[in-house]
Amino acid sequence: MSVISFEIVYRGIYQKTLANKISRTLVLAAVKEGKQGISFGRYSDSPERNGIPAKLFGYIADNSEELQAVAAKYEPKQVDVSICVDDTMCKGVESWAWYGLQPITAVTKPGGTLIVTSNYKTDDLVKHIHRRGTPYKLAIVPGGASMAGLWVYKNDGTDARVLGAALKAEPSICSMASLEQAIRENIGGDAHIEAARASFEDTRSDEVKPGQGNTEVPFTFQLLKWTEMREGVVIDGVGGHNNYRDLEGGYEPGRNEVFKKWSTRTMRPVVAFDKCTKCTLCWIACPDTVFDVTPDGYFDANMEACCGCGVCEAICPVSDCITMVNEVVFEDRGSQYLMWKKDAQAYQGYLTDKRKKGKVEKRFPITGLAAAFSGAGLDGGHNLNSAKAKSVKDFK
């Protein structure tokens, strides 16, 4: 095929520069071999917001006529390679640019490759990725979500390692030599090139079969006709709900029904209701009005609405009452309070298990900021035997 396309799914602001580096370098590497290319962000994702899923795209073509056919578009309908630089987005992405939840493989072509940076294994991720009718390949680049930042770019080698994996997935883009040269010119020196080479060598992909994966039907939204829309750019306000779920009493605030927000989340709060003193602080402090008030006065963080900022954990005065846990270890968005009410002992087991698997340590009370300040990817579990670069310092 003469036109190769790819997308990079990233977290707004924190990973913008990272995504841009990957996309630009890949195109520039191909340009070195006489090809033509473009790299562009999903226009409506901008202005970006912290943590909101966003996309960047690239096309590489043999000549300008081929490129014309794919230019002046918001996004490709299909890409050869999808790159996801934060594994929590395997659960799906909901950006500013469209309505509803897009599966992470929404535009990955049949038989195409999805590359994910993750510390988890193929099976851990596949169970989150929405199943589809066509097969694809899943390749994991070991490492946590790199929050390299927008203004201050803390390069932790993620860009080079992803580039190596991308070339492995689609070797017709260019030669390794051209990629190395492009990395040297656009990213950094020997450690980066070494990381890309190691990643190229090490990256393996597993075939994901049709029907394999998350069975949940992703939230979709039917765009209205002009005759169905309210006039004057008016949209309905959201009213409050006077009962907690189906129970008598309690309170659920009104929420935007068409923008769920939860795909913004990289971690979620779990609440140890046995320890809660009902002090109300989490309820008041949550910037997204996520806590539903239960009839008996507890505060239940609603996982349809939580953006995972961690403010509640930071403000809760009781130790180990609210804990932020990596989103990847959850497979549902159900009510923790109802789970606890049903069986307090089983809930305790659930809490212990989730904290053990994914408790998020050392962080600022805003999504990913700790990582952005410390330089994260490698610290998050990178363990490449064949790579010489072993720590963030190597990439300085």
Binding site: E231, V233, D236
Partner: protein, 404 residues
Amino acid sequence: MATAAQQAGVGVQLLTGSEVMANVVRLADVDVITAYPIRPYDTVMQYVSRFISNGEFDADYIPAESEHGQFEIVKHACACGARVFTGSSGVGWLYAMEPLAVTAGLRLPMVALVGCRALDDPGAFGTEHNDAMLVRDLGWLITFPDAAQEVVELGLLAYRVAEDPKVFLPCAIAMDGAFLTHSQATVRLPSQEQVKKFLPPYNRGDMLLHPDNPITIAPQANEDWLMEVRRQSSEAAKRAYTVLKDAHKDFCRIFGESTNPFLDEYMTEDADVVLCGLGTLSLPVKVAIREMRKEGKKVGLVRLKWFRPFPTEELRASLSRFKAVGVVDRDYSFGSPFHGGILLNEVKAALYGLDKQPRVKGFVCGLGGREVLLENVKHMADEILAIAKSGKADTQVEWIGVRG
């Protein structure tokens, strides 16, 4: 025979166009008014504030810090259900361009007076229509009264049509600076009872911005929404035409005035050619026509009372009756087709596709407040008569009354 207005009115008064507008504002019982001075619009500020300080009229009157703030304040008040009035002139009106665009986009029925004034630079006070015309593509209704008395009709219709829920679009009342804003003429004002009968209270319905009606107005929207929003505005602008036609019938019933809702035709029954224009241009043209008629020249006038909604069908029906038409622009559109004015290009577009099309020639005249003299009018009419006779097209746009 005395008209109903003459019987029920409060008698003849000597008023400027701005003063009539201030009276319309009073009679329409406007709730919120904002003001920021600029000539020639500022005359209306003075008249309105005098009514308020004399206790003849009760409204919130807010002098703003700039035109931008001035239009923003009434825009919001209008969203909250207040009937509003404001206005400006020339570059002041342009400084408010952002709220002007947004007001139409949000379908808010703001009524504003544009005291038409040349756009600076050079600093000039005289009338030119370019300021008012700059909102012509945005959804604004635009009406050009030609005399103080007509401000009653067009001013009241402005509120009635703009605030009709089928329309909900803002309306600019474009008055020629000096000739109308500052010039006193005899006027009969309608009574408060008549106006009450004609103008129902402004009802924003379920679009009202109020705590009891939780809505969001103007959220961020991407390319997957905006075209539908524009389509709605286009339909509203289309509906304004029918709503205006019906409202005008009501106006005639209540006030007894009887003219065509869209066009002011003068001596057109047997005319070979007509001049076509906006605003106070009609006055010298009518005088010249009478004089030319004495010489046996069958000249008439077709004046558009409304530029938006553009009376396409009426104009096609009217102008196709004549051999040639001279379109007189008191505005410019530099670099446009044949370097004509805005009205010329719109009239030509409206006539396109007619089986029987008149020849159309464009004139640019009376810019910067320059007086349109009888000899100017006669010259233009003679040119059109010559085209009618030869039957030859003449696309040259002629500047009238310019030294050189």
